[in-house]
C-alpha cells in the first residue's frame, strides 16, 4: 500500500491501522519472556523429573543444584536486568542526568562500588570457589598479618615464631572452629544477602505498587477497605507470626523472606497511593487520557514510573532491615542453619569471641558496611531521582 510507508502525520490511514492488532511488545518484555521461559522450563524439570537429592544440572554432568529460592532469585535478576538496567541503557540522556546528580554524593558512589563487589561476589563467588569444607586440623587459623598464641589452632598453617601462629594468604580471614575458611563463607554469604535483597524488593514492590495504584484509582469504599487492610498489615506483629510458623513448620530462609516481605509492603502501598493521587491530577495525565490511552496504559506508562522514582529510595532503605533481621534471627539461633549466611557465621563464632574474634568480626564488619552502603545509596537515589525533594530539604 502506497501510504503504508508515508512518514507524514497527515498521510496515515488510521482506519486501517487501528483495525490491525494491538499486540505490541517492547524489546524489554520480549527479552523478559525469552529469558524467563527457559528458567520456568528448568524449574518444572527440576520439580517433576529429577529426584529430591539429584542436582538440577546432572543431565549435563554438573554437580550443581538449584533450590526454589535460587529460581526465584534468578527470576528477579532477569526482572532487574530487563526493566532497570536495560532502560538505563536505552535512555542514555536520562541515565547521564541521573549519574551526574548521583555522583555528587561521594559516599554513595563508594557505597555503590561496595555493593557492586558484594553483588558480583555473590553471583560469581559460589561458581568459582568450592564450598567451605570442614577440616578440624586447621581450625582457628588467624587472619593474614595477625597472630595468635600457638595453642589456639590445632595445627598452624603459617609460620610459628616465638610461640605465636601467624596467618597466611591461604586463609586471608582465618578459619572457624570447624576449620572452614571465613573468607569463602563470607563470599557464600554474599549470595544469601543478595537473594534476600532482590527477592524481598521484588515482592514488596509488586504488591505495594499494584495495591497502591489500584486503591488510588478505585476510590470510594474500595479505597477505604484497601487502606484499612494496609493498616492491619502495618500493625501486624510479623516477628511473632514468624516464630509461630517456625515452631509449627520449621522455617528456612525462603519462609523468612516470604513472611517478612509479605508484611512489609504496607508503607510502600500507602506511599504509592498518595503519590498516584497527586500524579493523576497532573496535566500530562489528562493529555495521556485524551490521547485515548486506557486507564491501564496511563498507570503503567505515566503514574508508576513517576511514583517509582520515590519508592526506589524507600525500597533501598527496606533492604538493610531485612539483612539485619536475618542476622538477628541467626544470632538468636532461630535462623536457617542450612544456609551460609553472615548471621549464621557470626552466631557460630560468638562462643569463641574471647580467643578467635575474627570469626565474628569479619562477617560483622561486612554486614555493617553493606547496611551502611544501602543507606547511603538510598539517600543519594532520593536526591538524584527526585530533584524536588532535594530542593525542599535545602
Amino acid at each position: 500500500m502506497a501510504t503504508e510507508d508515508s512518514e507524514r502525520f497527515d498521510q496515515v490511514d488510521w482506519n486501517d491501522l487501528s483495525r490491525s492488532g494491538r499486540f505490541d511488545l517492547s524489546t524489554n518484555s520480549i527479552g523478559m519472556l525469552l529469558t524467563t521461559l527457559p528458567l520456568a522450563l528448568l524449574g518444572v524439570y527440576d520439580w517433576r523429573f529429577t529426584g529430591q537429592r539429584t542436582p538440577t544440572f546432572e543431565f549435563i554432568g554438573l554437580e550443581r543444584n538449584l533450590e526454589s529460592l535460587d529460581f526465584f532469585f534468578i527470576f528477579t535478576l532477569f526482572l532487574a536486568f530487563w526493566y532497570l538496567v536495560l532502560p538505563l541503557y536505552q535512555n542514555p540522556r536520562m541515565t547521564r542526568y541521573y549519574w551526574k546528580e548521583f555522583k555528587r554524593n561521594r559516599p554513595a558512589v563508594v557505597s555503590l562500588g561496595w555493593l557492586g563487589i558484594v553483588f558480583v561476589g555473590g553471583l560469581v563467588g559460589p561458581l568459582v570457589m568450592n564450598a567451605p569444607q570442614q577440616d578440624l586440623f586447621i581450625a582457628y587459623q588467624p587472619p593474614v598479618f595477625t597472630s595468635v598464641v600457638d595453642t589456639t589452632p590445632a595445627t598452624c598453617v603459617g609460620e610459628v615464631m616465638n610461640g605465636r601462629c601467624y596467618g597466611t594468604w591461604q586463609h586471608p580471614l582465618g578459619t572457624t572452629q570447624g576449620g572452614k575458611d571465613v573468607f569463602t563463607m563470607i563470599v557464600y554469604g554474599m549470595t544469601i544477602s543478595m537473594q534476600i535483597a532482590f527477592i524481598t524488593t521484588t515482592i514488596v514492590a509488586t504488591i505495594g505498587i499494584s495495591f497502591g495504584t489500584l486503591s488510588a484509582y478505585a476510590g470510594g469504599w474500595v479505597d477505604e477497605i484497601m487502606m484499612r487492610f494496609v493498616d492491619i498489615i502495618l500493625s501486624f506483629p510479623t516477628f511473632l507470626m514468624f516464630l509461630l510458623i517456625l515452631y509449627i513448620y520449621g522455617a528456612g530462609l525462603g519462609m523468612f523472606i516470604v513472611v517478612f516481605s509479605l508484611f512489609a509492603w504496607g508503607g510502600t502501598a500507602r506511599y504509592i497511593r498518595s503519590k498516584s493521587l497527586s500524579i493523576s491530577e497532573e496535566e500530562f495525565i489528562k493529555a495521556s487520557r485524551i490521547s485515548g490511552a486506557s486507564t491501564y496504559q496511563v498507570i503503567r506508562g505515566h503514574v508508576v514510573p513517576n511514583a517509582a522514582s520515590s519508592i526506589i529510595t524507600q525500597l533501598t532503605l527496606l533492604i538493610p532491615g531485612f539483612l539485619l533481621a536475618e542476622a538477628q534471627l541467626a544470632f538468636l539461633g532461630i535462623g536457617d542453619s542450612t544456609v551460609p549466611s553472615w548471621g549464621q557465621l557470626i552466631s557460630a563464632g560468638r562462643s569463641d569471641l574471647s580467643f578467635a574474634p575474627w570469626i565474628v568480626l569479619a562477617p560483622g564488619i561486612v554486614l555493617f558496611l553493606t547496611i551502611l552502603a544501602f543507606n547511603f545509596l538510598g539517600d543519594a537515589l532520593l536526591d538524584a531521582l527526585n530533584p524536588e525533594a532535594e530542593a525542599e530539604n535545602e
Binding site: 502525520f9 488510521w14 540522556r93 496535566e283 500530562f284 493529555a287 485524551i290 485515548g292
Partner: protein
Amino acid sequence: MTEPLLSVRDLKKHYPIRKGLFNRKVGAARAVDGISFDIEEGETLGLVGESGCGKSTAASSVIHLEEPTSGEVIFNGNGRGGATRDPDGTHPNDVTQFDDDEMMAFRRGAQMIFQDPSSSFDPRVSVGNAVGELLKVHGMSDRHRRRAIVEDLLERVGLSASDFDRYPHEFSGGQKQRIALARALVLNPDLIIADEPVSALDVSIQAEILSLINDLQDEFGLSLLFISHDMSVIRQICDRVAVMDLGEIVEIGPVEEIFTDPQHPYTEALLSSIPTPDPRASVGGIELKGTVPSPTNPPSGCRFHTRCHKVIQPDGVDVDQADWRGLLNFRDKVSAGEVDVEQVRENIAAGGSDLTDAEVQAEIRREFDIGETVDDPDLERTLSEALDLLIDGNDERAGEVLRNAITTPCAETEPERTVHTPDHESACLRHEGQAAAEPNPADD
C-alpha cells in the same frame, strides 16, 4: 446551509456538593450551565471570560475528558458528516453517546493543548516518545515509522528532529508549547481545543506561538476552539468569539463586531480591560463593582445583574446609572449585614474631629458611589430612611426597607438570546423586544 464541524447544544456540567455522613448531595456547582455554540470547518471560535467562569470545564466536557451532566456534543469530523437525527431524537454523532471504538476515533478527530507547558509533559518521557505515544495508542506498532513521523512533525513546529530524545526539562516554555502543538497534531485531527495555550508565556513568545497556530491551521484546515481570558489574544486569532460568564454564554458573534459593537455589558467590561498602548489615554476601564457570585448559588434572573454597570431601572425610575448601581450594591451589602457603621465612623475619625451622623451618612454614600442626592425623590426618601435606621443600629429593618423599594427587572427575568445581526447574538434584557433568536436545532 453547511454542516458545522462541532455543535454543542445546551451542554451542562454540574459538580455535586456532598456533605455529611452519607455523602448526601446538598447542591451542585454549576460550572457550565447550558452553553450552545457551533464551530465551522477551518474556523476559530474564541471562548472568553474571567477565571472561574467555566471555560476550562466547558473544554474538558466537549473533549470528553469529563462526562458532561447533560447536553449534546455533536462532532461531524472524521468523515461522519451528513448524519441526520435518529427517530428517537438522539444524534448519531453525539460524542456523549459514543461507544469505545467511536470514542477512539473521536480522539483522533479532536485533540487538546493545555495551559501549563511545564506540567503537560511527563518529566520521565522524552518529548519524541510523548508525541509518539498517541500513534502507539492508536495502533501504530512500527517504532521506526513513529519516529519518522514525529521527527517530521517536530520540524514543522519549528524544532529540530534531534530534539526527539530530549526531555521536557531541557526545553523552554515556548518550545514545550510547540511540542504540545505537535502532540495535538500528530493524529491529524479536525479540531483542536486550546485551553489558554499562551497565557503562561512571555508576550513576545505568545506572538510566535499564535502565528504558528495560525499557519498550521491554514495548512491543515483545522478548526480551533480557543479559550482565553485575554481579549487581545482573542482578537489576534479568532474568527468568532463566545463570551462566557458564570457558566453561560452571554454574547456570541464575529470577532470584529464584538470588538467594535459589543451588545452585552459584560463584554463591554471585558473589552475595557484591554490595555492601550497610548500612555496618555485614560485607563477608562469599566470597573465591575459588587460581589462575584458563586456558581453554587448563581443569582436569579440575569446572572450578571449583581455586577452589571448597565443594570436596568424599573418603570418609573430614572436616576443616574452610577447612583442606581450604587443603590443596588448598598442594598445587597446591607441585606448581607456587611455595612459596619462603627467601622466607617472609626475610619473617618482617624482624620481627627468628632463626627455628626450626617458626615457618616455622606461617607457611606461616597463609599457606594451614590451622589449627594438621588434624582428620584421617592428613592432619596427611602435611602435616607435606611441610612437613619443603619445609624440607629437597626440593620435588619434598613435592609428590609431597601429591599422593598429598590428592585430591578434584571433579577427577576432570565434574558433570552436576541439577534443583532445574523451571526451576532447576546443575552441581555436591555435588548428585549428585538428579534429573539430562533431555536437552532443541530440537524439542519
